[in-house]
Amino acid sequence: MQTLTIDDVTVRFGKVRALESFALELHAGQVVMLAGPNGAGKSTLIRVLLGLVSPDRGALRVDGRLVRVDRAFRNRLAYLPESVAFAESLTGREVVAFFASARGVARARVDEVLERVGLADARRRAVRGYSRGMRQRLGLAVALVAPSDLLILDEPTGGLDQDALSLLWSVLDEWRAAGRIVLLASHEIALLEHRVDRLALLSEGRRVAEGTPADLRRTAGLPLRVQLELDPAAPTRDALKAALGEMGAPRFDHDATHVELELEPHALVRLFELGAERRAAIRDLRVVAPPFDEVYRRLLSEAA
């Protein structure tokens, strides 16, 4: 599977628009994130891809060919649901073995994948004795046990400790390197910014923004935060303060040594020129990008 195209998909539940003319193209070797507030349509889109919801309109295409979500399509996908809870009385190995057997995968793969997710020692324990993080790892093992072209993860970071997060990052990297497609839905936009290749932002069933994280930062156009430490003894300090005042609305601390101001990205050039001219007056200069959740909120508010 090189490309999966979600084409103009609309899903309505009565008067509720769960998805409205939603379109997205997923490419092999990319990790794509669906982000948006609750009720934005992320889960509905995932359910459309799994065949759990029939859209009112729209189509799915694999490498340009129209496809139905049938056995053949589902045989090519792996899925990790949000907060999955497997049968408490079964062991971790039995749970994974069932999914392996259902997908016609050899038993040897079960232990391999349990080892991969760090559950080798717990494989003979009943699921009722698993922590939340272990259950999430077990879900990941279920998703990874059979070879697939498309991995769908719904809120995969919930309940994961740092080790489990590292595991998830390595899984994403492996899938990307293997030229497969990963689609994940999450609220943890700041956590995942550097782990995904593209993001699609949804609001009220519509795609309001789409692109790489850097694209979305540009689209949001949020100002950068500039922090300067000035040399109180430098003769050019007053001139620098005046120049900064012309560029924006600098905030000085009580002795006017530390300055913070917000600048549009294009104003950085002028700041650096100023820094070069008044170099003696500047001890330190930092440019901080706004957190990605601010980018997210800005894009959502603009869409609203």
Binding site: R47, A72, V84, F86, F98, A102
Partner: protein, 268 residues
Amino acid sequence: MRIPFPVGRALALHELRERTRDRWVLVISALFALLASAVGLYGRSAEGNVTAITGPSLVTLASLFVPLVALALGYDAIVGERERNTLGLLLSLPASRVEVVLAKFVGRGVALAAAVGVGLGGAMLAAAQGEARTLAALIGPTIALGLTFVSVGMLVSSLTSRQSTAASFVIALWFLLVFFYDLGLLALLVATDGAVGDGTIASLVVGNPTGLYRVTLLSALSGPSALPDLGLDVSLPSSTGRAALWLAWILGPLVLSGLVLSARRALR
């Protein structure tokens, strides 16, 4: 060689394994086995014959316990998966929704058959020599009764959205079909002063799977006079008719369950 229905086969085995560890199912099954063995022992010590004591007592016992075990096996089949958030995962496997329903039924049905086998097997072991063969005739209809209620439980499971609601429904159904149905028929007879025809009563009796089970086996064990002795002057359907009724009871709710699940436009 490609194995046909890999998901169905794997799911049926998975269901069977899970059910054999279900505490409720184990407790009710063990209680049934214990009581059935006690009935067998009692029949032996009373030196009665199987037609007079052991058989009818086991029929009464099974008609109470087997539907309960079966409903406990069936009620969470679909709604339980939904509550655990695993229904989507299950239906994302390469299988149709009907295949999923059938596989669940097969796995749970085998668990039910095992529970019946253990219960009646215990009674047969405890019963006097020579009675075992007669008691073995109970196994088939008792499994049919159980499969009917597994199927009914699964229909309830696919129609409800919460496990607690499904549990309430099946308990109400159990009381209705096992206890109150016969009382309702009596009330009907009293209220109409016996004006309701024998044919209607016969249809109403065998229309309830528990009634069909009771009258068929009591008649078989105790002879043709058993039903008139109980005040039921009804003629039973032929063996083919009875088999058709059992099939309808087992397959009807099951097919409906598959249709309900398949017709759902949105599942979570």
